[in-house]
């Protein structure tokens, strides 16, 4: 667990890691148009981080990813999701106040039937996608790092 894997695995990881991150963020951002959303995109980004951890070992990633910083970011994501639920509290909890109104994700009216997608629509849906995506991404990475560093400390005693 300390050393990581061979030169071939490390080179391919360096090539694949960037496009995997971009694909994960694409799946999170376009959750209201294509299949996907916050949970699925967060899992894709977390698996890119886990690939980095497996290929370079715990010693190679020790200075870059900190489990407590990741836990703080996860708490911020959870609080943002809860705050977005209180936006439309005048009518109901989780009421979609921003849909079909104003410039912030309320934009042009979505045509009925099969169309090619309108990005600037959906109300609180894209904002909730980002909050949940941040939460899942940092949460799963924090779990994986905590388990890996915990197992390493046990072997060196």
């Amino acid at each position: 667990m300390n050393t990581g894997m061979s030169v071939i695995v490390r080179t391919i990881t360096r090539l694949v890691y960037g496009p995997a991150l971009v694909f994960g963020f694409y799946v999170i951002m376009h959750g209201h148009l294509t299949p996907g959303g916050g949970f699925q995109g967060g899992a894709v980004v977390a698996s890119a981080f886990a690939l980095l951890l497996v290929a370079f070992g715990a010693a190679g990633v020790k200075g870059h990813l900190n489990a407590h910083l990741l836990q703080t970011l996860e708490e911020i994501g959870a609080l943002a999701f809860l705050a977005l639920g209180f936006v439309g509290i005048g009518t109901a909890f989780f009421y979609n106040l921003l849909a079909n109104s104003g410039p912030l994700f309320g934009g042009p009216v979505v045509p009925l039937g099969s169309n090619s997608g309108v990005f600037n629509a959906g109300g609180t849906l894209p904002l909730m996608n980002w909050a949940v995506g941040l939460k899942v991404m940092t949460g799963i990475t924090a779990i994986v790092i905590a388990m890996l560093v915990g197992a390493r400390k046990e072997e060196s005693e």
Binding site: E74, V110, G123, M128, N129, V132, A142, M147, V149, K153
Partner: protein, 91 residues
Amino acid sequence: MKKAIILVAFLFVAAFLLLAATSMRPFGEPSFADMDDYFIAHTQAEVAANNAVTAVVFDYRGFDTLGEATVLFAAVVGVLALFRKLREDER
């Protein structure tokens, strides 16, 4: 003796599950689809999103997603609290 009792109980549960699976309604015809027909018909007008599944998860049934976010938060806090003792020994 105890293993024989466990084996009989397991065979009973397995037979019950397989019997229930073969005598269900035909695959491909849902019995009660009134709520989902309303969701499919009104997603583009009310939620203004193209993805009906995301609209159901975050808008029509957002309370379930709040419970799921709480479970994920509890799991992360639990795992990081279990492995905290080693981090303090490391310093």
